[in-house]
């Protein structure tokens, strides 16, 4: 049984212009101890999907209108926010995108890590502090015992993201959702943070749902990959399969848009971009949402929405192109 099984999740937002279908029927499952990457361009619903799991989206205007989020056999969707509080941080940890703004500026980092421990575990203040220092050491913050009393502004971006990781892992959750944890960091720090995440995953045996739009990050870390486009899953495959044999035109486009420093000098090829932009998800047109930007679009694409179906073991796509082949 999967650790987390999202089935037909629809999260919509009420806006002045109508209902925004940010996530519209997403199926994602994560097994214990695996790393799943969710990729897609900005605004495709990756973050909203992740935030929906713990109901961290603003409600209203957001609302989960359909679907199930089964975590360890229990559906999280009907739970109230206070019922979810027992799962937040304890069972599912969250690492956010912006380490510069995701820490409270007026509380010490030690306090911010310890409060999660004190909420979920029967520990004294002193034990919580010791555990916090231990976590800071694990995420390789030098002089952890002294730094624990420092405020977020006394740390660099990379160090803050380490603090965020320590915070998310303090209660040893079974699943960690990392929402673009390296996007706000510079490249050298990005690699360090990804290594650290990998290291922590091996140490604690947790599953990781890594949300990113960097295909390079996907290739390095994931076991399985889910590609999202305009609020829907368009392709899902093990990582080697996805890079070796991408089947959805959108995935193919994403992979072709990765800059290749080794090829450019010899072949002088232009970096390929996917033309057009993400559709606005208020009253979307019927049919495939990628069709307006797709090179292979057929007449059926504008009429009927493709369903996600398995084309090889563990490889699923939502495209009419596969039907014809």
């Amino acid at each position: 049984m999967a650790l987390l099984d999202i089935k037909g999740l629809k999260t919509h937002f009420t806006t002045d212009d109508g209902i925004l279908q940010a996530v519209d029927g997403v199926d994602i499952s994560i097994n214990r101890g695996e790393t799943l990457c969710v990729v897609g361009e900005s605004g495709c619903g990756k973050t909203v999907t992740a935030m929906s799991i713990l109901k961290l989206i603003a409600m209203p205007p957001g609302k989960i209108v359909a679907g199930e989020i089964i975590f360890e056999g229990r559906d999280l969707v009907p739970l109230s926010s206070s019922e979810l509080d027992d799962i937040r941080a304890k069972e599912i940890g969250f690492i956010f995108q912006e380490p510069m703004t995701s820490l409270n500026p007026v509380l010490t980092i030690g306090e911010q890590i310890a409060e999660s421990l004190r909420r979920h575990e029967a520990v004294t203040k002193k034990q919580a502090l010791e555990r916090t220092i231990e976590m800071l050491k694990l995420v390789q913050i030098p002089n952890a015992a002294g730094r624990v009393h420092h405020y977020p502004h006394q740390f660099s971006g990379g160090m803050r993201q380490r603090v965020m990781i320590a915070m998310a892992l303090a209660c040893r959750p079974k699943l960690v959702i990392a929402d673009e944890p390296t996007t706000a960091l510079d490249v050298t720090i990005q690699a360090q943070i990804l290594d650290l995440l990998q290291d922590m995953k091996e140490r604690f045996g947790m599953a990781v749902m890594l949300i990113t739009h960097a295909m390079g990050v996907v290739a390095e870390t994931a076991q399985r990959v889910v590609v999202m486009y305009a609020g829907k899953v368009v392709e899902e495959a093990p990582v080697d399969e996805l890079f070796g044999n991408p089947r959805h035109p959108y995935t193919q486009g994403l992979i072709r848009s990765i800059p290749r420093i080794d090829l450019d000098a010899e072949h002088k090829t232009r970096l390929e971009a996917i033309g057009g932009s993400v559709p606005i998800l208020i009253n979307p047109t019927p049919g495939c949402r990628f069709a307006p930007r797709c090179k292979h679009a057929m007449s059926i694409c504008a009429e009927r929405e493709p369903r996600l179906r398995e084309i090889a073991p563990g490889h699923r796509i939502a495209c009419h192109l596969g039907d014809a082949q």
């Binding site: 713990l54 961290l56 603003a58 926010s81 206070s82 979810l84 509080d85 027992d86 799962i87 937040r88 941080a89 304890k90 940890g93 969250f94 956010f96 912006e98 703004t101 995701s102 820490l103 409270n104 500026p105 007026v106 509380l107 911010q112 409060e115 999660s116 909420r119 979920h120 405020y151 502004h153 965020m164 915070m167």
Partner: protein, 319 residues
Amino acid sequence: MSQYILRRLMIAIPSLLGISLVLFVVLALAPGDPFGELATNPNVPPEVQAALRAKFGLDDPIYLRYLHWLAAMAQGDWGFSFVSRMNVDTLILQRLPTTLYVIGSAQLLALAIAIPVGVYAATRPYSIFDQIANTFAFIGFSLPTFFTGILFILIFSVKLDWLPFVYSTDIKATGIAWALEMIRQAIMPVMVLGLFQAASMTRFVRSAMLDVIRLDYVTTARAKGLGQAKVIVKHVMRNAMIPVVTLIALQMPAVFGGAIVTEQIFRIPGIGSLLISSILANDTPVVMAVTFVFACLVVLFNLIADVLYGWLDPRISFR
């Protein structure tokens, strides 16, 4: 920290000097002086008048008079009120406690209303509670205190006869009866000033809370499963109060100004009504002293704001 406060107090000296100079010059340029009414009194011969003016140095050039005032002030001599026939410092010390009692209670009332109402409204924006709170806030700061004051007197003193409308300093009672009477007569002025303050403060608390509530670190706090109450108090309020504290401290001059009006309406023998009566009586030493006390209070509250700011926000260091 104490070094910082000391340095701030040192910096306050030149600004207070500047303020006193401006006040002195303006008052000197204004028509009338303490001996103005002597001129119209036929019993005082002109020679005596001239002798008195010369004795008190009233015909000296402005800068000399200012230096005289400053020298006396530095030695703790605040001057003499010719109208009340007593020293200005005694006069002010008599009046100041009443003003501080009324303004202090009004500010406490305003905070006691504004913080819970503003915080609760911000956690449920556009809810019925928020709409009602907003409506009352708009009404509250649209109505000037001289209007609400008179309205309160009409309702609670004239029609219902529940509360006295003249504030008295010599209550003929002792012990608990005295304390109760002190509270009873302060109810209306405190309500008038407090509700007016509470109205704008509520709006400010609400918007400060709304600014913070959507920030990333609040989502981080929610993701820890802390629960709504703890997230609001520990993470949102703690940050939202920083600008609120500044605003309240910086509003204090306006509060003192507003209190002058309220003191007039309710006949409160405070420092504000002292200012009005001394202006009308050409009692220049008192006018000078009272305005200078106001200036000192403003400087003091600015300092308090800065100290509180640094205490609330660890990113600000006292250097």
